[in-house]
Point group: C2
Chain length 198, copies 2
C-alpha cells in the first residue's frame, strides 16, 4: 500500500519476533519522523552486532572475543558449571549475584515437537569441559517447562555415571507472589521441596 | 548486562515505540541467530527509508519524489480533498477504494495537552490549495477521538466563510477509536454516509 521504501521497511520489521503489521507500521512511521542520526545509529548497531558478536568458544555465551566476559574472568570458579538454555539466562542469573562459577549455554532445549534433539544442543561440548576433572558440580538451570525439564532429565541421566554432583534449581513459589494465585504444579513442587526451618 | 554490541542493540531497539526491554532482548537475540544477509537487509531498509522517503510538497503524504503517488496520479479528481491526520490514514482510506480525489495530511491533530496547536499542523498549506477555486468539497477525515474532533471543528469554522462544501465522515466509526484500525467496510460506509456540516 505504501511507496517502495516505506513498505519494504514495514515488511522487514514485520518479520521480527513479536512485531505484527500494525506495530511494524507504527515503528516505520516513528523512524520516518525521527532524526536522521538516531535512525543511522539504529541501522549501525544492527550491522555491528552481526560483525562483532560471536559465541564464546568455551561456553557458547555471546562474546565479542574468543571468550565471553565470564569465561575470560580469572576470578570465576572452575569447580561449578551452570547449564542454561540461552545467553539471556546467563544474564538473568548474573543479576542475582548468587553464582560465581562458569556457565554452559546449550543453545536451546530438547523439543521433539520442533525437531530439536540432544544432538542439536551443545551437550558434547559440555562433556568435553567435564573431562579435565576440575568441575565438582553441574547446576542445571534449564527453564521450568516441559522442554526444560526433559533436557534436565536427559542431562542428569547422562552425567550420573561420571560421578560429578548434578543439581537442579529449586522449584517453588515465586518470591513476592500470592500463594492463592500459584498454579497447582508450582504449589505441589513447593510442598515437595519444603525445608525444615526449626 | 551484555557485552557492548548486544547491549547497544537492545538499548536502541528499546527506544522504538511499543518495544519494551524484554521484546528488545528477544529481537536482539533473534537477529544474532539470523542469517547475516537478512540482518544486513533490515539495516539497509532502515537506512534507505530515511534517504529515499520524503513528504509530498503538495499534500504532505509520504513520497519518494516531489509528489506522492496520489498527487502525481492524473486520474485523481481535483475537486475533492480529504483531510487526514497522518500518512497511514491515507493508506486506510485508499484501501476502501471509495475515494478518488486527493488528500491533505495535517501531520497530527490539535492537542493542547501535548502543545500541538493549529499552527503546528499543515493548515496554512490546505488554505493555499483551496485558493485556486478547483476544490468543491473538503472531506474531514480526522480520527473520531477528542483531538480529531477538535481539529474537525476548528477546520469547519475556518473553512465556513470560504463557501466550499465541508463534510465530515459519518458516524459508524467507533467513537474513541483510531481511524487506521477501522475495517474497510466500516470506513467505506463512513465515506458514503458523510454529511455536509457547513
Amino acid at each position: 500500500m505504501y511507496d517502495g521504501a516505506v513498505q519494504d521497511l514495514i515488511d522487514e520489521l514485520g518479520r521480527l519476533p513479536g512485531i505484527g503489521p500494525k506495530s511494524a507500521q507504527r515503528i516505520a512511521f516513528h523512524l520516518l519522523s525521527s532524526d536522521a542520526s538516531d535512525v543511522a545509529r539504529l541501522a549501525e548497531t544492527i550491522t555491528t552486532v552481526k560483525e562483532k558478536v560471536r559465541f564464546c568458544t568455551v561456553c557458547g555465551n555471546v562474546a565479542e572475543a574468543e571468550l565471553c566476559r565470564v569465561c575470560a574472568d580469572p576470578r570465576r570458579g572452575e569447580d561449578q558449571i551452570c547449564v542454561v538454555e540461552e545467553p539471556k539466562d546467563v544474564v538473568a542469573i548474573e543479576r542475582t549475584r548468587e553464582f560465581h562459577g562458569k556457565y554452559h549455554v546449550l543453545g536451546g532445549a530438547i523439543d521433539p515437537m520442533n525437531g530439536v534433539g540432544p544432538d542439536d544442543l551443545r551437550i558434547r561440548e559440555l562433556l568435553t569441559r567435564l573431562g579435565d576433572g576440575k568441575v565438582q558440580e553441574v547446576i542445571i538451570a534449564t527453564d521450568p517447562n516441559i522442554e526444560g525439564e526433559a533436557t534436565a532429565t536427559y542431562l542428569t541421566r547422562m552425567l550420573a555415571p561420571i560421578g560429578i554432583t548434578v543439581s537442579r534449581l529449586a522449584s517453588g513459589l515465586p518470591v513476592g507472589g500470592d500463594l492463592e494465585y500459584a498454579d497447582e504444579v508450582t504449589l505441589g513442587r513447593a510442598f515437595e521441596g519444603r525445608r525444615t526451618v526449626s
